[in-house]
Every structure is written in structure tokens, then in C-alpha cells.
């Protein structure tokens, strides 16, 4: 069984990226800044987004030919973890995933057409999900040949930042085969985009009805999308796992700080084992998530994740989902009455936990697939 691969590397470049991300997130994503964005339409600060582009972060998974740094998707992991820790929430993950797909699976025409703009700050989003079922093998959106190219039918749900994206990467059925299609948002009428209410108020997503939208044939990525979809599902799981691990750490820090200062019955409440020991469980769950995340990051830079890399990505997501869910739940409980208020930051984490656990498949989704990988050999 693939338990023996214990590869774990953390290069100087990743270290430097992490250092710069730390400084950037601490500076740009203070808690007041996070709070101020909650009721906003867009959910993030466009200036911050442009600064991220300027730092080259949107090009980590993009080759130098197309304006990127070619560091590879594993370099996005420390960035995302750090963003998770500071609740700096932007279209970064989805945009990075689209860039990775275009980089690896598109022809050079498509890459040349879209990648340099993405590196420069254009927002791109994945449109994959059609129902509540992240494990649904079927694709309902269809692309049919029409006079002007392809005519689409069907809708996608939970398309991240759909209202401000300039590009969708859409999974479609075309002539009975799963394919990926680039749909510029210009081709989508704004009425087709209906905002959804995210439980994690730092995020934005929408339902997008592609019915009636036409795009050119040249926007179809070459070949059967099955392996690319598998890959993007794994990398999406990894990046959201990294973010969740960061958020779990921040949630733990917030709670630990409260437990040091709050007194009840004449003692700081953190001195009670009933609170201290579950905090240790949160710590261990979070650290395990980090270990899986960096293990996976050490294995995913190749074109197609192999069995070990798949296993690592799935473990990362399964563990990080559970770690943040547990951390968020305990954060609210251990803040006592304060934890029950919207004003207390614990709510930000418990809400994020509900989002994070689902996106790109929940813990059980991944464990079920791990069972096949690990037990059926």
C-alpha cells in the first residue's frame, strides 16, 4: 500500500515565498479589513488582488513563456496556507487552478490567449459542480455544435467569484465525451449569473446558467477531459486543504489566546483540562493536516499526479476539513457566551469550516477514494 512514500521537501524558494506571504497577509488582511469586506459585494479588495498579481503570485503555476515564474503549483501551497491563516480570501485558488489547467492541458494558442492576462490579474473561475454531489460522475452541461461554434445548455453551481471573473473553465459533455471549455464571461449574459449566499461570508460564489451561450470551437481544450478533471479535483482539494490548515491554526491561536486571558471561578479557563486537552487535539489535527499538505506539495509538480500524489492530496483534504471543522466548533464553544456572538471572530472560522469541508469533496469523499487506493492493491 502506498504508505511508504514519506517525501517531504520545503525548498528555499517556498520558504521565501512563505516569508513574503506572511508579511503581506499580516499587513493587508488585518481582522478589521476582513470584517470590512464581509458585507461588500465583491468580497475582496481589488487593490490587494492587483498587488498579488504584481508580486507574481498568479503566475507560480505558469511557465515563463506565458509570463509566469514556472515555480509550479506546489509553490502556491505556502501562499494559500498563509492566506488561510489571515483569512485573506480572493479568487486566488480558482484562478491558479484554471491557470494550471490551461498551462498543462490547453494547446499553445489557448494558453497564449489567456495565460498572460491571468498572470497579470485577470480573474478566472472553475465551473464544475452541478448539484450538491461533488462525487457525481455525470456532467449535465452540454456543448452542441452550432453555426457559430458551440452552443451550451445547462447550469453550474458554486462558481467562485463568478460575478467578477473574466473567464470560466467549464466541464461539458461534447459528443458524448467529457471536455473542458474556456468561456469568456463576455459571452455570458449577466442575468445568467445569480449570486448565492455563502455560509463563509468571506467568499462569493454564484450559479451560472450557460444555456444559450455560444463560444468558438477553438475554446475547447484538446482531448478527453477525464484525466484533467481528476487532476484539477486533486489540486483543488490540495489548495483548499492548505487554506483550511492555515485557518485551523489561526482559529486555534485565537482560542488559545482567549483561554489564557479569560477567568472563571478565579482561574484562567485555559488551566482546565476540559478545555486544554481538546485544544491539544485541535493542535494535533492541524499539524497532521499541515504534514499531509506539505507532503502532497512535495509530490504534485509533475504533469499528472501519480498514485502517491493522489493519495497525499486526498489525505490532505480529508484531514484539513476535519481539523478546521473541529477547531471551529471548539472555538465557539470555548469562547462561551462571547463565542455565540457575530462580533467574536470564532464565527469566521466555524463558517469557513462548513465551506471548506465541502469544496472539492468532503473528508469522507476522499477517504472513500483512499480506501480503493490503499486497500485494493
Amino acid at each position: 500500500m502506498p504508505m511508504n512514500n514519506m517525501q517531504m521537501v520545503f525548498g528555499d524558494e517556498q520558504g521565501m515565498l512563505l516569508d513574503s506571504a506572511r508579511a503581506f497577509c499580516r499587513d493587508r488582511s488585518t481582522m478589521p479589513a476582513v470584517r470590512a469586506l464581509l458585507p461588500s459585494a465583491q468580497g475582496f479588495d481589488p487593490q490587494v488582488w492587483q498587488q498579488m498579481a504584481a508580486l507574481g503570485w498568479l503566475g507560480v503555476a505558469v511557465a515563463e513563456d506565458f509570463g509566469g515564474s514556472g515555480l509550479g503549483i506546489s509553490s502556491a501551497v505556502p501562499l494559500v496556507e498563509c492566506m488561510g491563516k489571515h483569512l485573506l480570501t480572493t479568487p486566488f485558488i480558482d484562478t491558479t487552478l484554471v491557470a494550471r489547467v490551461l498551462q498543462q492541458a490547453a494547446g499553445s494558442d489557448l494558453s497564449q490567449r489567456y495565460l498572460p492576462d491571468i498572470v497579470g490579474g485577470q480573474i478566472a473561475s472553475l465551473a464544475l459542480l452541478e448539484s450538491e454531489d461533488w462525487g457525481d460522475p455525470a456532467i449535465g452541461v452540454t456543448a452542441t455544435p452550432a453555426k457559430s461554434g458551440l452552443q451550451l445548455s445547462g447550469a453550474k453551481t458554486q462558481v467562485a467569484y463568478a460575478e467578477v471573473a473574466e473567464l470560466f473553465l467549464v466541464s461539458v459533455m461534447y459528443q458524448g465525451v467529457a471536455r473542458l471549455l474556456v468561456v469568456p464571461t463576455a459571452a455570458v449574459p449577466s442575468a445568467a449569473v445569480s449570486r448565492q449566499t455563502c455560509i463563509d461570508e468571506t467568499r462569493r460564489c454564484a450559479r451560472v446558467d450557460f444555456s444559450g451561450v455560444s463560444v468558438g470551437m477553438e475554446n475547447l481544450l484538446p482531448g478527453d477531459a477525464d484525466s484533467t478533471l481528476r487532476e484539477v479535483m486533486l489540486l483543488g482539494a490540495l489548495l483548499y486543504a492548505a487554506e483550511a490548515a492555515g485557518s485551523a491554526a489561526a482559529c486555534m491561536d485565537l482560542t488559545a489566546e482567549y483561554l489564557k486571558t479569560r477567568h472563571q471561578f478565579g482561574r484562567p479557563i485555559g488551566s482546565y483540562q476540559a478545555l486544554k486537552h481538546p485544544m491539544v487535539e485541535v493542535l494535533v489535527a492541524m499539524e497532521n493536516a499541515r504534514s499531509f499538505v506539505y507532503h502532497a506539495a512535495s509530490l504534485v509538480n509533475e504533469a499528472t499526479p501519480d498514485r502517491d500524489a493522489e493519495s497525499a492530496c486526498r489525505m490532505a483534504k480529508a484531514q484539513a476539513s476535519e481539523a478546521l471543522k473541529f477547531a471551529g466548533d471548539r472555538a465557539v464553544q470555548f469562547h462561551g457566551g462571547m463565542g455565540f456572538t457575530y462580533e467574536c471572530d470564532a464565527q469566521l472560522y466555524i463558517r469557513r469550516a462548513q465551506w471548506s469541508q465541502q469544496v472539492f469533496g468532503d473528508a469522507y469523499h476522499h477517504r472513500k477514494r483512499l480506501a480503493s487506493l490503499l486497500l485494493d492493491s
Binding site: Y272, A274, G336, Q358
Partner: protein
């Protein structure tokens, strides 16, 4: 207030009458989410709806059935109210929301209040004209009631109150508060320095500030007392007896048989509701309810809920409660509230991608009911003594373990 024990046939007949009345008069779905507990009343719309419903139920003679008729009750045996309460639960009516009045203040006033106090307060509690709230917890002493610091200083015919209370349910709607305040800060035992008041909320110097809950909704206030003057006649149980009175008040929570007016203080949320709500969802292209791991977890939850119900029944059979007599009653809150937390949390997990949505999203499962229910449930694992404190109490009082 009661009379001799009614016969089973009398009770059955009464129950049938109540059932028929409810079938006809229980309110239709108002088109907005109703609170599951009185702590969730967050809008004027909800409040007016619930006030009207309680008034209607009382007018029909089905609330405080066993309370004295001179104060708005019917002077019957408590068993009749118990029949009403069971039928309200069975028919899943909205809650009788004036819970602090019906279940705490009312029975207390009937037990130890003066005739004047009874005449002044009881009927308004039943009719829902007077909403009551509770002023026990304070910002810095959440779980440590005995340490309440809000001061009440006797000044002529008044007491002057200074301090603040928190988690005042419906504080912004309430006309009266049951208030625990410190009249003697120098008492040797801190418990002996407390007194219990039936305080008006409209007194000058009392201000409320709504608290926004984790759900984004309102439902509690913080209440500030700044040289607030209330008449000395508001004192109940005598100066210095506040702790004892407060403890007595908590006993009424056990329902009509314990003296409360009855009604339906909260909508019970069952795992069967969850199963109904997620039955149509799919996982990996198959029905969610066919997934063996999901099934196993649901069975565990069903068992936990069933055990809660059975424990309730067992409490009534002395022969099965001899070994650890306090075990079932003392552990009820911990078992029920923690079960609900886990069950509701799992309710979100089961929703797949839809679990990422929230109240207000038209695609959210059951309008986001479970999302809100999970968050709201922390009121029960935190309020009224956190689960951690409950576990101390059980460990010490049932198993005899030394104090922490």
C-alpha cells in the same frame, strides 16, 4: 391549583378536545422561518406572530390550565396541562414563546409572591401581554452565577441598580425581568449577598443593546443599569435570599408538573427531520441514504436520540433508578445539548455542496434550517452552565468524584 388525580378517561377526553381544537386553530406556515426556541426570536415579525399564537392558545383555555382561575388559569390538575403540552409537541405547533414568564417567573410568583404580585403579573404572563426576560448572567461571570456583581442598594422605597446583564433573551421586547443582584457585597458567603427582583424594564436608567448572534440574527440583548430605580416591592423572597430563590426558579424548568404554566417552550429537532430533509440528496451519483457509512452514522444518531427519550421514561420507573438516582435528571442537559450539536453538525456535512450555502439562499436545504440550527445550538451547550461545567456536576454529584 390541582385537585385529585384525574382518571385516564378524563385525560383522554380532554386530549381529544385539545387535539381537535389544534387541528382547527394552529397557525399556518407564515412563510418565514420561525424560532425553534424563545432565544431565537429575532424580528418584530416573529414576535408578533408568536404573541398572537400564545394569546389564542391561552384564550382557548390551554395554557396555565392548572394555574389558579383568579389569575387567568383554570384551576385544574397539572396532568391536563401535560396533555396539552404533549399534543402541542405532536402537532408541531409554534412555540409558546414567553418562556421566562411561563416557566420561571410565573410559578415563582405563584409559589412565594404576595397576592398583589400575583394579581399584577400572572395574567399578563399567560396572555403574552407582558413578555418577561431573565437577568442572571453577567459579562464577566458567564458560568459563575453566584459571583453576580450587579449592585442593588436600598434607598428609601426603592432599590438603585447599577451594573449590567448579558444574554437577556428578548430584552428589547420584555416588560419585566427577573433580576439577580447583589444587595450585600460584604456577606461572608458570596451567595448570601444576593437578592431576587421582579424588575420593570421601562425604568429610567435601564438600557438594552441587541446582541448579534453567530447566525447573523438577533435574539439577545445586553442590559445596562445606570442608577436605575425600581420600587422595593419588586423584591421577592426577601433580601439576601436571592441565590435560594434563583435555585428554586430553575426547578420549574421541568414542566407543568413542577409548577410551570406549560406550553411548548421549544420545537424539538429530531434526526428524523434531518433524514427527511436530506433524503433526496445524492453522493457519488447514488442516493445519499444508500451509502453504508452515512447509514451507520445515522443509526448512531438515531440511537442516541432514542436513548434520550427512553431515559425520560425510565426516570418515571423508580425500580430502574436505584443505582445512580441523580444520573438521568442531572445529565439530561448535557446529553441532549451535545447530541443535538453533533447531529446538527452532521446535518451540514451530509448536505454536500449545499452545506456551503446559508439562510437566504433559495437553493439551501430547508432554507438553511440546519445551518442556523447548528449555530443556534451553541446557546444550549454554553448557556445555563457549559457542557464542561455540566460534566463536572455529574462527575461530582452522581459518581462522587472530588471537586475540580
Amino acid at each position: 391549583m390541582n385537585g385529585t388525580d384525574p382518571s385516564p378517561s378524563e385525560l383522554a377526553e380532554f386530549r381529544a378536545e385539545v387535539a381537535a381544537w389544534l387541528e382547527q386553530h394552529k397557525p399556518a406556515d407564515p412563510g418565514f422561518l420561525l424560532p425553534q426556541t424563545f432565544m431565537e426570536v429575532g424580528s418584530d415579525q416573529q414576535l408578533e406572530f408568536l404573541r398572537e399564537w400564545q394569546h389564542k392558545l391561552w384564550s382557548a383555555g390551554y395554557l396555565g390550565v392548572h394555574w389558579p382561575s383568579e389569575y387567568g388559569g383554570r384551576g385544574m390538575h397539572a396532568a391536563f396541562q401535560h396533555e396539552v403540552d404533549r399534543e402541542l409537541r405532536r402537532q408541531r405547533t409554534p412555540i409558546t414563546f414567553n418562556v421566562i414568564g411561563l416557566g420561571w417567573a410565573g410559578p415563582l410568583i405563584l409559589d412565594i409572591g404576595t397576592d398583589q404580585q400575583k394579581a399584577l403579573y400572572i395574567k399578563g404572563i399567560l396572555s403574552a401581554e407582558d413578555i418577561w426576560c431573565q437577568g442572571f448572567s453577567e459579562p464577566d461571570h458567564g458560568s459563575d452565577l453566584g459571583n453576580a456583581q450587579t449592585r442593588a442598594v436600598r434607598d428609601g422605597d426603592d432599590y438603585v441598580i447599577n451594573g449590567s446583564k448579558i444574554w437577556t433573551t428578548m430584552g428589547n421586547y420584555a416588560r419585566y425581568m427577573i433580576l439577580l443582584a447583589r444587595t450585600d457585597p460584604s456577606a461572608e458567603r458570596k451567595y448570601d449577598g444576593l437578592s431576587f427582583f421582579l424588575s420593570p424594564m421601562e425604568a429610567r436608567g435601564i438600557e438594552t443593546r441587541p446582541i448579534q448572534k453567530i447566525t447573523g440574527e438577533y435574539g439577545f440583548t445586553e442590559t445596562f443599569f445606570t442608577d436605575a430605580r425600581i420600587p422595593a416591592s419588586c423584591l421577592i423572597g426577601g433580601e439576601g435570599n436571592g441565590w435560594r430563590v434563583a435555585m428554586q426558579t430553575l426547578q420549574y424548568e421541568r414542566g407543568a408538573a413542577a409548577g410551570a404554566a406549560g406550553g411548548l417552550p421549544q420545537v424539538r429537532i429530531s434526526v428524523s427531520d434531518l433524514i427527511d430533509d436530506i433524503r433526496h440528496l445524492r453522493r457519488d451519483g447514488q442516493p445519499l441514504l444508500e451509502d453504508p457509512v452515512v447509514r451507520d452514522r445515522l443509526v448512531e444518531l438515531i440511537m442516541e436520540e432514542k436513548a434520550l427519550g427512553l431515559a425520560d421514561r425510565r426516570t418515571g420507573l423508580p425500580g430502574l433508578n436505584t443505582d445512580y438516582p441523580l444520573s438521568l435528571p442531572l445529565s439530561f442537559k448535557l446529553r441532549a445539548s451535545e447530541y443535538q450539536r453533533r447531529m446538527r453538525q452532521y446535518g451540514l456535512e451530509l448536505q454536500g455542496g449545499l452545506g456551503s450555502l446559508y439562510v437566504g439562499d433559495e437553493q439551501a436545504v430547508a432554507g438553511g434550517f440546519w445551518q442556523r440550527a447548528y449555530f443556534n445550538n451553541f446557546a444550549t451547550t454554553i448557556g445555563g452552565g457549559t457542557s464542561q461545567i455540566q460534566a463536572n456536576i455529574i462527575g461530582e454529584q452522581v459518581l462522587g468524584l472530588p471537586k475540580s
